[in-house]
């Protein structure tokens, strides 16, 4: 230990230089948005390439399960298609088939569920038309929001994020609520601040409200598990079980809202109070 200090003292000039340079670089990265975005993007690209090589390998291990979920989804879609075609032929109603939302399939190449702030990385990026703030869903439900895009990859802030707040709706009675995540169990979400006159019954289905411009209406979020009445307060809470299994995500869809800009412009043009 003594020799270590002697060594430090002998080269104190050099170490002081390193310390000052380190401080300078911290300052640069923290205070200059251009330099920061450059670092974030290039490390994103690098880690993205490494993760995609790794997933290419591990994908084989879960191939069978993925096949099953895809087959199931196919079956679901087929049944919906049947329903649609029967409506078209049987009734005189004109079913509108054009939608504001486009779906881009993407592969999850890295995923976390154990932190307070969880991110996924997808193998689609700027060159595929992915932009910041696009929604991400899986075949079983909601996943998250694109928060960073590089040339070929994108980072997704998952619903399992301490700042995530999803505008949702109780399917049974159409009441609007907000879903958040408390940060402990990746299967359990929380609905906060439910006014007392609204009762949520365990088993109720929670879906997206369609109010947020990001997700289309009716994407499954989860089912209510527990209704917690806070006596003495006039706001209640409820716990829900996410329909998406965040631990086993492998294929997701990125949602592109084609009308988003128009809707945003409309909102911006509203006079401020």
């Amino acid at each position: 230990m003594r020799y270590f200090f002697i060594f430090l003292w002998k080269h104190s000039f050099f170490f002081l230089f390193l310390i000052f340079e380190f401080i300078s670089f911290l300052l640069i990265v923290n205070n200059n948005p251009y330099q920061r975005s450059y670092i974030v993007n290039s490390t994103n690209e690098l880690t993205g390439n490494m993760f995609s090589a790794f997933t290419n390998f591990t994908e084989y291990l879960s191939l069978k399960k993925n096949n099953n979920t895809l087959a199931q989804e196919n079956a679901n879609l087929h049944s919906k298609l049947n329903l649609l075609s029967s409506i078209e032929t049987d009734s005189s109603f004109n079913v509108s088939t054009d939608s504001n939302f486009l779906f881009l399939p993407a592969k999850v190449i890295s995923n976390s569920i154990n932190n307070r702030i969880n991110y996924l990385m997808l193998d689609k990026g700027k060159s595929d038309g992915v932009k910041i703030d696009m929604g991400v869903i899986s075949s079983t439900g909601i996943v998250g929001l694109v928060c960073q895009v590089s040339e070929n990859f994108s980072s997704v802030m998952s619903v399992l994020h301490k700042d995530a707040k999803i505008s949702a709706r109780i399917k049974e009675n159409n009441q609007l609520v907000n879903v958040i995540w408390k940060g402990d169990d990746y299967r359990i979400g929380t609905i906060e601040d439910i006014p007392t006159h609204i009762k949520v019954i365990p088993g109720d289905t929670i879906i997206t409200s369609g109010n947020s411009l990001i997700f289309p209406e009716g994407i499954l979020i989860g089912n209510c598990k527990d209704f917690i009445e806070n006596s003495g307060e006039n706001l209640n809470n409820a716990e829900i079980i996410f329909s998406t299994d965040f631990n086993s995500l492998s294929y997701v869809y990125i949602i592109n809202n084609l009308m988003r800009e128009e809707q945003n412009n409309l909102i911006d043009s509203l006079p401020d109070e």
Binding site: S24, L27, V29
Partner: protein, 171 residues
């Protein structure tokens, strides 16, 4: 010793203000911007303790940064040349020996010595500065042209002020 200390503090303040309010606003040709304030680091006495050398360089870089909205960029470049300065002084030989009380400047060490000394340090400083600002080698030659032109101008200013001030002290 005390008067040297005060002189350097005054020089620090004047050079920062001159850099921030005058030189940062001229932008010749749109891209060329001399960074004359490094003159402060060049002129620090040879006997300056090394920790003081690094910290004063860091401070003057940070002061310029705060005014020009580029926090960390100037200070990184300044700390780099402060670190290289003692080695460079040992490498550059001059006609005169380093006696005590000698100051870095044309008057004491001759034009050639001071010209080489300031050219090398200013070039390294500007190189680090402009490439940290661009933060990539994508436009290498364009940035390099900026470095060359700006360091030329800075060195010119430094030599000019050497003559301006050393003649005054002679009289």
């Amino acid at each position: 010793m005390n008067s040297v200390f005060i002189l350097n503090i005054i020089r620090f303040i004047i050079l920062v203000l001159f850099q921030v309010f005058i030189l940062n606003n001229i932008e010749i040709n749109g891209y060329i911007n001399p960074y004359f304030y490094v003159y402060f680091i060049l002129l620090l006495p040879f006997e300056t303790p090394k920790w003081l050398l690094l910290s004063s360089a860091f401070l003057i870089g940070l002061s310029v940064d705060i005014f020009s909205n580029s926090i960390g960029i100037n200070s990184a470049a300044c700390v780099l040349i402060a670190f290289l300065r003692p080695g460079l002084i040992n490498t550059l030989t001059s006609k005169r020996e380093f006696e005590t009380g000698i100051k870095p400047g044309i008057k004491d060490l001759g034009f050639a010595w001071f010209f080489n000394y300031s050219l090398i340090l200013v070039f390294i400083h500007h190189f680090a500065l402009f490439f940290l600002e661009a933060f990539s080698f994508h436009y290498f030659w364009f940035t390099f042209y900026q470095v060359l032109a700006s360091s030329g101008l800075s060195v010119l200013l430094i030599i000019f002020s050497q003559y301006l001030f050393s003649y005054r002290t002679k009289e």
